[in-house]
């Protein structure tokens, strides 16, 4: 039931000053969305109520007409 986020654990040193949850910082490798595409999508979705997801790596918004 563990969350599958394709992430790797970040190495945090064990120390009395570091809260437990910070040992669970995760990192995921992602691809940068070209700035021009980003702006195009912002323009396309602007004013439609909500802009979401186009920045996520598995979004197909950039490839659909």
């Amino acid at each position: 039931m563990k969350a599958k986020n394709n992430s790797t654990q970040v190495k945090i040193p064990e120390n009395e000053a570091i809260p437990f949850d910070l040992y669970y910082i995760t990192s995921t490798k992602k691809k940068e969305i070209p700035r021009e595409d980003f702006k195009l999508e912002m323009d396309r979705y602007y004013g439609k109520g909500m802009i979401m997801d186009f920045y996520k790596d598995n979004s197909n918004m950039f490839y659909e007409e």
Binding site: K2, L22, I25, T28, K29, M50, N60
Partner: protein, 340 residues
């Protein structure tokens, strides 16, 4: 003219701007970072006069009198805690450490921003300048006091106590931040790829290979959920949505852990009146007129209060449940202006 304190980029803020534009209403946005703002200063002349026999108080920026700001409705959507008023650098030669000196400057220079934020809280306002984050243990305790059920919670730096808590909760507990989650960070590997650092709530099904030494941290029992509930509290009204996070394996523990194009199902929801009454008492106690509140509805049909975010995202609830909260906020700001 509504004054809106928000971040540089915040989509719900922009949707409210859309509605203000629709109604031909003027507005001003302040981020605390834009040096052209009235409320930040770089090379601007700023004068605040207080007291005296005639008790004549005034605020002037660039000789422009800002006293009329008392008249404006304010939306503290996501106010920055500090402004960055100065960009200039200077040569520093002293044996008093520069970092301490810089700290002293920063503290002093944010007083104006703080003064204005606090002053504007006496206007008709939505949200809070002072309270943009809450102390989780305090809120959990208050929620319990006002009749809400909270998950069994442990705050400890003792591995022994954590082990006992783990045993008592069927070897399934969650760890999440006692404060806010970490600030997201992008570490660029090259021009196209980066590592995205972030934090979500984690389920612990084993304490093997976990740290033996740690600072006081928050742990809660894992509750088997039927669904989650996200409630937007605004202007003494409740706008709730049931969020079906248990359908998708990724969102079972933390609803934010959702892939693009895998939408979570939301439905409009009406909380029980006793729960709403408890929340109302809690919000009044915290002097908040806006907040996004998270609950769990367990498979045993029990409501568990999780937390309040005074600057939480509400766009999902508004959009999926057709509540039109952006429009209502714009109308609230316009209505409060016309009252003056």
């Amino acid at each position: 003219m509504p004054l809106i304190f928000s971040q540089e980029i915040d989509f719900p803020t922009n949707r409210v701007f859309d509605w203000l534009s629709f109604y031909d209403a003027d507005y001003n946005k302040y981020t605390g970072l834009n040096l052209k703002d009235d409320f930040t200063f770089d090379d601007k002349k700023i004068t605040i006069s207080l007291g005296g026999i005639d008790k004549k108080n005034s605020i002037k920026v660039k000789d422009k009198n800002l006293n009329h700001i008392d008249l404006f409705p304010v939306w503290f959507r996501r106010p920055n805690k500090v402004s960055i008023p100065f960009t200039g650098d200077f040569k520093y030669e002293s044996t008093y450490p520069k970092n301490l000196f810089s700290y002293a400057i920063k503290q002093r220079n944010t007083i104006f921003w703080d003064y204005l934020g606090n002053k504007l809280e006496s206007n008709n306002h939505l949200g809070s300048f002072k309270t943009i984050s809450l102390n989780k243990p305090i809120v959990l305790e208050l929620a319990q006091k006002f009749g809400l059920t909270i998950p069994s919670t442990l705050i400890t730096n003792s591995k022994d106590d954590l082990n006992l808590f783990f045993e008592n909760n069927n070897h399934r507990i969650i760890t999440k931040s006692i404060e806010e989650i970490i600030i997201d960070h992008k570490h660029y590997l090259n021009d196209e790829e980066y590592l995205h650092f972030y934090q979500i709530t984690n389920l612990l099904e084993s304490l093997d290979n976990t740290p033996s030494k740690f600072a006081p941290s928050l742990f809660q029992e894992y509750i088997d959920k039927k669904y989650e509930i996200r409630t937007v509290f605004f202007n003494n009204e409740f706008y709730s949505a049931s969020v079906f996070t248990q359908i998708n394996e990724d969102t079972k523990i933390d609803m934010r852990n959702r892939k693009a194009n895998h939408f979570t199902r939301y439905m409009p929801y009406k909380l029980d009146s006793e729960i709403e009454a408890g929340i109302l008492k809690l919000m009044n106690h915290l002097e908040l007129n806006f907040g996004v509140i998270d609950f769990i509805k367990s498979i045993d049909n029990e409501y568990y209060f999780l937390e309040i975010n005074p600057v939480g995202q509400y766009g999902d609830v508004s959009l999926y449940c057709n509540y039109g909260i952006h429009k209502k906020i714009a109308e609230y700001l316009i209505k409060n202006e016309s009252k003056k």
